[in-house]
């Protein structure tokens, strides 16, 4: 319960933003928050709040597993620091690189393979798997 008080503002925002399948559970000294947010803006807002409450995020007391709602055909922005995003033949870094998407380039979501790898298609027609943490639905 103490953790829910610590992260009360974050939980309140998650609730207000209307996260789908929002789950808030405290277990073994860790607060678990999961669900599907409506937009990248909501996703960034919640992570910013986490960073604000615990700047180093070193307490190890919050596990925030948030998915961003994105249907097939959604435009995705590549959010690497500056480098290109590899597009691979398999949903793994073991997969062969079949294409690249530049920083800030827009690609199209083909399907979500899992939480980590999404199948995308570039404007050049290259299709393959890219790491989802570097893709932001628009």
């Amino acid at each position: 319960m103490a953790l829910q008080e610590k992260y009360a503002a974050l939980i309140a925002t998650a609730t207000t933003n209307g996260i789908t399948n929002l789950s808030v559970a405290e277990q073994a000294g860790v607060l678990h928050i999961s669900g599907t947010v409506k937009s990248t803006t909501d996703y960034d807002q919640l992570w910013a709040m986490y960073s604000s409450i615990d700047p180093d995020m070193a307490a190890g007391d919050l596990m925030m597993n948030l998915d961003i709602a994105a249907a097939q055909g959604t435009k995705l922005k590549v959010t690497t620091d500056s480098s290109n995003l590899n597009i691979r033949s398999l949903p793994s870094t073991e997969g062969e690189i079949v294409g690249k998407a530049a920083h800030d380039e827009i690609v199209t979501l083909v399907e979500k393979h899992d939480d980590n790898w999404w199948k995308v298609k570039t404007e050049d027609g290259e299709e393959g798997y890219a790491y989802a943490q570097y893709l932001s639905p628009m």
């Binding site: 559970a25 992570w47 995020m57 190890g60 597993n65 870094t93 073991e94 980590n116 943490q133």
Partner: protein, 178 residues
């Protein structure tokens, strides 16, 4: 035998005949009880008859049941009944059912945490951390330990990567560059 005796005998005979045609109260009660026993909605139905006036007692579940049973008895038109006094009572409502036991959901691991640090989880972390420079991940510790120095923005990205892999990292040796 004089006329007076003849008249007396005729009177006694007439009275006897008249009385024998009229059912006695006991017979009326018996007939009514037969009717009452066929009324399954009436519990403990009973009747007392005095001079053809029947007083019925018993217990019905509600007023509609009471009216229905009374109407059925009247319709039976038991011979000798002058009137029916229906004195059935209404059964008290049944007590509310006991509250169902409070279901206690089994404590399951939340969806946001991986139950084991298996190869798939490890690969997910490696995939995510591959392009992050200046940090290493030690998988020999109880929790994967992230070591190095990164910007605040990259720290946030690292936490997102681990959350996506559903594993809590140890970032005590991860410093933030100024």
């Amino acid at each position: 035998m004089n006329k007076r005796n003849l008249f007396l005998i005729a009177a006694i005979t007439a009275t006897t005949l008249f009385t024998s045609c009229k059912p006695k109260d006991e017979e009326i009660a018996k007939a009514i009880n037969t009717q009452l026993s066929s009324m399954t909605d009436l519990k403990g139905g009973n009747v007392t008859v005095v001079d053809g006036v029947a007083t019925v007692t018993g217990e019905c579940k509600d007023d509609a049941c009471s009216q229905k049973c009374k109407a059925a008895l009247e319709a039976a038109n038991v011979k000798g009944v002058k009137s029916i006094s229906w004195n059935s009572t209404i059964a008290p409502p049944p007590p509310p059912p006991p509250a169902p036991p409070v279901a206690i959901a089994p404590v399951a691991a939340p969806a946001s945490v991986a139950t084991t640090m298996d190869a798939k989880v490890m690969q997910a972390i490696k995939d995510g951390m591959k392009d992050i420079k200046g940090v290493t991940v030690d998988f020999t510790a109880a929790k994967p330990m992230v070591v190095g120095e990164v910007s605040a923005a990259t720290r946030l990205k690292i936490m997102q990567i681990f959350s996506s892999a559903k594993i809590m990292p140890d970032v005590s040796k991860l410093t933030t560059s100024k």
